[in-house]
Subunit: 369 residues, 4 copies
């Protein structure tokens, strides 16, 4: 099941080692201005080798639009985007051919399929997310152009270092100005040090990404298996290394009482708004006009250089000694992926909303008394 979406449907393909990775976007509205330059910046934010904090695998990750556009505009037909694999050192993985790397997908893929591409992470590699990022760039362009929606993600926590970020004001510029993509300038340097230390230790760190979508109109999302928070949860929990998802108050909200957790309504500038946003912009699975706020927990990267006990395909207990390139912390590169996941989920619901209701989403029109 490598498809997602109902009207804006994406199909991603590709392993970390093989001909390439990419995506087919089916259902993109026609007439949108779209060239490779609309997609490449997000791929550049995702690609490996962009800083000393990320894996040193070198991939230019240049994308090519194979179909679905004409004279720089979308046709309404499927948009295929391909990124060919270049720096694929399959030989590096030779020692793992017969071993299962702990907390990787080696064992589960082989248990399921009876075969795996042992030259790298295969389909379970984070390289798969290239397709999502490419499609996410298209989705974001639609959302910005049509609805003025603004999506920003950032590193909110690395290890036990927590940032203080205001979702209502944080900008992509602030995020990008930090090597670890944490816009809290008091916290960011400590995170950089922590990642450097983990790298030197041959170990890895996890963390939390925060993401916000601002200026989302009320009405996106559908009961009951198309709830916006349900679909966001799937989009995020299908990312490599994701272990947790929360919307609005999330896990911390469970210790409050209803009288403080409920978001009271008020009238502001002629619009019905809430005074707090514990709901994270979603009530009953449908956006309410407030900012959509989510957080995603990522485990420490499974690839480390420390020896790990494991078992071979023949059942021999042994020790894995990994070498080579790895991300000591995936969080900085995951930021753009998390923005893509938000954009893809929202755009599909935007088109579905237009389809079912026959109108653009809009602010609530006050009834005449």
């Amino acid at each position: 099941m490598n498809q997602s979406g109902v009207l804006f449907r994406i199909t991603t393909f590709g392993e970390s080692h093989g001909g390439g990775v990419g995506v087919v976007i089916d259902g993109c509205p026609p007439g949108l201005l779209l060239v490779e330059a609309d997609i490449q910046p997000d791929l550049d934010r995702r690609r490996p080798g962009q800083s000393r904090l990320t894996t040193q695998r070198q991939e230019a990750d240049q994308c090519r639009i194979l179909s679905g556009t004409f004279e720089g505009r979308t046709l309404g037909t499927p948009i295929a985007v391909l990124v060919e694999n270049a720096d694929a050192r399959g030989r590096d993985y030779e020692p793992f051919k017969e071993l299962f790397r702990p907390s990787h997908a080696d064992f589960t893929y082989e248990a399921k399929y009876g075969i795996r591409n042992w030259k790298g992470g295969g389909r379970a590699s984070a390289r798969e997310t290239i397709g999502r990022v490419a499609a996410g760039a298209v989705a974001r362009k639609i959302l910005t152009t049509s609805l003025g929606i603004d999506i920003v993600a950032w590193v909110d926590q690395i290890g036990d270092i927590c940032a203080a970020v205001d979702p209502e004001t944080v900008s992509q510029e602030e995020v990008e100005s930090s090597l670890v993509r944490c816009p809290d300038t008091r916290t960011s340097p400590g995170m950089v040090d922590a990642v450097d230390q983990a790298r030197m230790d041959g170990d890895s760190l996890g963390g939390i990404i925060g993401v916000v979508a601002r200026n989302v109109p009320p009405g996106l999302g559908e009961p009951v298996f198309g709830k916006l928070d349900g679909d966001l949860a799937q989009a995020y929990m299908s990312l490599p290394a994701a272990k947790g998802f929360e919307i609005g108050s999330g896990f911390s909200g469970v210790t409050t009482r209803g009288s403080t957790h409920n978001d009271p309504f008020r009238l502001q500038d002629g619009q019905i708004r809430t005074t707090t946003n514990h709901s994270g912009g979603i009530q009953g699975g449908i956006s309410n006009g407030e900012s959509i706020r989510a957080r995603i927990a990522f485990k420490p990267t499974a690839t480390i250089l420390k020896p790990m006990p494991t078992v071979s395909r023949t059942g021999e207990e042994t020790t894995l000694n990994a070498r080579g390139r790895h991300d000591p912390c995936v969080l900085p590169r995951a930021v753009v992926i998390c923005e893509a996941a938000m954009a893809l989920t929202l755009v599909d619901h935007y088109l579905r909303h237009r389809g079912q209701t026959g109108r653009e989403p809009q602010n609530f029109p006050l009834q005449q008394r």
Copy 2:
């Protein structure tokens, strides 16, 4: 989008006030012994009025199988299950007709659809979960019969009271023996008191449900938009009041390092197993043979008896004074719903696995050296 699943597809229908609620199960394997008595016990665990801790709305919630079975066995054709609505006091909601109850779906439904059933929560009511629970009972029967899978959910936290529960050993009997469905006998009484207190205060509490699926074979789940944890996240985050989801180590895992978080492999009883289970039974989106462990955060019930600031449909700021029946804490009733969500997700992947691979899921067959 009121459907879920690829091969074992469920469609739920119904509002809290109207003819009834129910589900159509499409794709259920043929030949399964199935009568109403297989479904009713789970509905009874979910129904309102079962104890003083739950809403006093009285609904027998008797189900009726309308199709898809013959002489007590499933036909392979759609199984429609209907529960008629009985104790629906629509008049109780008359005062809310023109008001939006804070943190309910009143506002968002009306913003999206331009209309809502104001006699109760409509489609956003927890009553909608009846369909999922009914289908979940069927799913669970398949999983138990075919694979010996055992699913248990329990109340893990209410407000700030946390239980200590061992997912490997907890039994449904232990859960059911507690009024709040918390199997930790040292914690359970305090939870009961807290819920009683919230009810007397006209307020509400949130909490966390833990759920485990034991004896799940490796191989269930698919890359990349059919990852088992991604689908579980959607199943759980589409439940009313759910605000967070985590699998395995979840949010607490982010403060560890890879060297301690990775689950080393070992050989146990001739099977490849892991010595820890931070992965929560899923690696790369596919089950690895360990217990699947998840936790779901539920916000405090939005319905409270305390006055809340709100706005009317005409934009007038006012105060909502709710009366009547409500659940001060949904957690005890949510336990069976969380079991159903796990069963429904697993059974669909079980059938998909058989379809794509042509075999039953099984333990990893060690290769000959």
Copy 3:
């Protein structure tokens, strides 16, 4: 797979003998006026026992809307419609319990599922189409209200008796005024005689239904697996007893040459129209603004009263001697089913068009020179 549609999704359920049959409509636009009386007339046109030419099974086929409406309007939530089974003489089928009726689905269902409901046709019974007809009535109401689309089906041929009907002018009133639902008054009496004769002979007849959708705007349908003619073909070929489908010139067009088959464009009343309609209103899978014209071939009813060679479940060659009630010719009752299939296909594409393009379908706006 008992679902159909992308945005306007229907799920039908029910066997001929059992609790009932029905449909869940998911994705219906909100705010549509809808009560049982909007659906019942089409069910009445479909129901058995309505004339001496149809089976004498008596079913009132009264429908009940269980969900999805409020105060006579649709909510945007799933609309469940139930018709309970009444006159189900299961005992009549006792002799067939161990036999496979030729050209019925008895054998194939049992081969596939290892079980079948032998009390009647089960899921393969034409009774299943009740759900489609109910949903079709809703679909038709949307199409009429929003786009002014007009759908008419009629009996175009029974046995070797062919009618001459003008798809551009035929009306439902003309169709309904004929006992066999053939609006060609010169042909209709002969068809009635033929059906009467077949009934007296204990035999059955096949025929062809013609269907037209008028006033369809250009733009409905999608490349390539969502082509309007492809989806119509599936809708029609999934009807019981359907053996052939053609659009526009269909099979008779194969003997023409391109120079005569192509539909030249012209300008008419400021609109781009075609001078002929061999395309049947669809080019490249998308409606072109001309009437959509299709024809569906139905085989003679499999149920006859003449003895037929067959085999038992134990492999014994024997003779089937059917008794009881049957339709000597399904065509008259199939008319309303064929209208429903057209309406259901069009409405789904209508909503999809709105979703992908963000606008209502419209006539081609001539470009400024």
Copy 4:
């Protein structure tokens, strides 16, 4: 909607003029031997320029597998196949930039999307079928390997010249030995002459393709929107230029009576078989173990060199004078496409059958008396 299939899902992409065309196959079983050489022969049978009877556009149509295989075997992950466009003379189409070619999709695409790729047929070009043929080759390999299914298509009629072909015995070798792919050696030369004549006249011809799948086990197909004949109808009617579809007796069966049309059962070699096959191998939407027989009507190619009345985008009535390369008759090249459509439909149902029932399809096991 450029996807098809439930478990074996294909997504095709690409316009006739642009980067390329291709397919992503999602859900292919793992472990299948698969290299480009398994796909190329079918692409070669489809490609233009293969004989004097087809368009002289020269395309090598070399395919490249980008993902989803490893060391010559399928991984169970998405298989992306790309064919780059080469001989694309976009300039040839310059005169049509402002005109709508009659009975092409120019007008409908522009009416729907407000934009079209006027350099060729765009997405409506028969070039789109490359993706289906590539995926069809994979599907066929699975069916042959796992079930021994044998699929053959042939030209059954061109214009008014009808062949006499026995579906039970016709072989691909016989089909390929004819320039028009008609295995009836008495008819084939006349067809060649007719196509030659049409080409010299600057005109075009239509015809009928016959297709058979032999050795199909009983049990493939599902009620009611997954009926095998319904899905075949969609697969075939979504092909460019298809105007009609029939299964078994099809349109000719409507003039028979039930007593002659019904296929009596008998016992043959210990298997339950039918003595005739008017059903075309499908009863109640499910295969019955007999050969699946279908016929598809194709209209005469819309592209002709004779002048045709048309209208420009600005609404000016004018004459279209086409030049250049075209197929005077698509039938010979459509043969392999029709085989692919059959294979794709069957393989998806094969996997679904395994998923829902948990077993391979098999002959009916006679019950013990």
